[in-house]
């Protein structure tokens, strides 16, 4: 209980003052963070006329009628939420699966086997983390264009087999948690190498896979640069590409529907965050410390 004496001596008036400052500033930042999203949700339920009166009011006379009307207006123009939603879902889901599976496989190849080029390969992975997307853009576009594969969602999915960041993270995790004895005993039992990876190593990596899957999914869902260049067919556009339409003149007078359109694009993210925020924040912390 020696802690108590330290505590007692340090609880002074300026401590309480400091605590008040901490809470005031933290609450101010919380409000600042939530304000735009609160505005977005509140205004989705308002009519254009009500928004013109004041953006700041949080209530509406006919919230659900307005919501239905805003939804109609959105769908009657170029912004097709369901198409965008479906495309984003396909791209994000497929690329996340490819990303975590093949990154685990690559990380396993580096960690579990001794091969001549292993050291060179793993330093190469660290080096290529620095390559920015921009420098691949022109060449990538030309290649895809020549093959006639623009507007194909697969061109946004397949490259996620090779994401150096994820491989790096998976390798860090495997180095700390993989015991070769388990692998050896599975070999004695006659399991093939590929089966060992799928049935023993993958389940072992579940926590790392979960973390990377969340970040991979969010990253892919939010990606704008590449889809904006590759996707010109309006039936193939993902949500972030579509969202840029809301900035256009056709929605200039439709205040309520713009807010509703924005809300639709982030709704899945908000739902995911509501359930997984603790793990997400822990995952961020893990990534920073490990690197």
């Amino acid at each position: 209980m020696s802690d108590n004496t330290v505590k007692a001596s340090s609880i002074r008036k300026n401590d309480i003052g400091l605590k008040v400052v901490i809470y005031v500033v933290s609450i101010f930042f919380s409000i600042m963070t939530l304000f735009p999203f609160v505005m977005m949700i509140a205004n989705s339920f308002k009519s254009t006329f009500e928004i013109q009166q004041s953006t700041l009011t949080l209530w509406s006379a006919h919230p659900f009628q307005n919501l239905a009307r805003n939804w109609q207006i959105i769908n009657s123009k170029d912004f097709h939420p369901m198409t965008g939603f479906l495309n984003s879902f396909i791209v994000a889901t497929c690329s996340t699966i490819l990303n975590v599976y093949f990154s685990s496989l690559t990380a396993y190849a580096i960690t579990a086997y001794e091969w001549k080029l292993r050291e060179a390969f793993s330093s190469m992975i660290i080096a290529i983390m620095m390559i920015p997307t921009t420098v691949t853009t022109i060449g990538f576009y030309q290649m895809v264009y020549k093959l006639g594969l623009t507007n194909k969602l697969s061109m946004l999915i397949i490259p996620s087999i090779a994401v150096p960041m994820t491989v790096f993270f998976m390798r860090q995790y495997l180095q700390a948690s993989l015991s070769m004895e388990i692998v050896q005993s599975a070999r004695i039992d006659g399991a093939g190498e590929f089966r060992i990876f799928n049935q023993i190593v993958v389940p072992l990596m579940k926590p790392a896979i979960a973390t990377q899957a969340i970040f991979g999914y969010v990253g892919s869902w939010n990606n704008l640069f590449m889809p904006l260049i590759l996707l010109t067919d309006k039936n193939k556009k993902t949500l972030p590409v579509m969202v840029s339409l809301l900035n256009g003149d056709i929605y200039k007078k439709e205040y309520g529907s713009v807010y509703l359109g924005l809300l639709i694009t982030v709704l899945p993210l908000i739902v995911v965050y509501a359930f997984l925020s603790r793990y997400i924040v822990e995952g961020v912390a893990l990534g920073g410390v490990k690197s």
Partner: protein, 322 residues
Amino acid sequence: MRNKKLVNYAKFGYLFSIPFILTFCIFTLYPVVYTLVIGFTDLKGAGNTSWHFLPAVGKNLFTNFTDVLTSKTFHKAFGNTWIIWIINFIPQIGFALLFTAWFTDRRSKVKGTGLFKILFYMPNIITAATIAILFTKLFGYPKGAVNDILLAFGRPQAYNFESNEWPVKLIVAFIQFFQWYGHTMVNLTAGVIGISPEIFEAAEIDGANRAQTFFKVTIPCIRQIMLFVLVTSLIGGLNMFDIPQLYISTRCNNAGLTTNMYIRNQAFAGSYMYNRAAAASVILFIVIVALSSILFYILRDKDEAKLKKLRKQELKALKKGY
């Protein structure tokens, strides 16, 4: 110590790396090399795929590079990118450090830090494109939430936030700050939690006050993580695209034009100058590699490098012995 059984399995090491290597070569390596080559050619025009090296058409090999480097628009874009990054990074690291100090303070034991962390981090996972447009609407003129607030506080009339260059830059920087301060704070807090509590106890016993503990103990201990945050933020900042592109695009005298937007505008709009865009992206790449190499050199784990050296010497000694 080499295990013979492991050597037998070497081929699986190669086999399991094939998907990564193949995908990397097709979707990253080839495009990078292609971009580099295109920088020295006359490739332009929508849908055009045939090209010649510049000397073949009677031009200097480096024409595209000199064009970009002397272009006023490129200077503006490059300058903007730095200005916006700096205005966003200084308060970002400042507030992140302040919250880290407060939330990890052992003496005042702030309650609800978990909730604050979750709230502050939230904007980071929301689509940047959506946030940019949301802020366009909130800073709208003549109607918008911010103007409504200003009017309520007695400003005579609404302010047009797009009328000047600086408000545009400041708002773009603010949105970047808004999205990233929580992320930085979570990283730094994790670093502080990882410090052994004994160090803090020792500082307390020695009579260090809060400020002294933070500046003399905490900050030196999280130096590595701060540098990591700096490197990632710098690379991300130089590649800034989504928010400036959607917030104001190229209106208002290119106030929010960034390098990445310049590259995209050259290649996929106007006269489709693929060659010039390629040259600009190579220049950006060189800048990033140079800066990150410098920072990585400072970041490198000195102890591990020493350990590796020792291990190598030991191995050599062992081999000589046998």
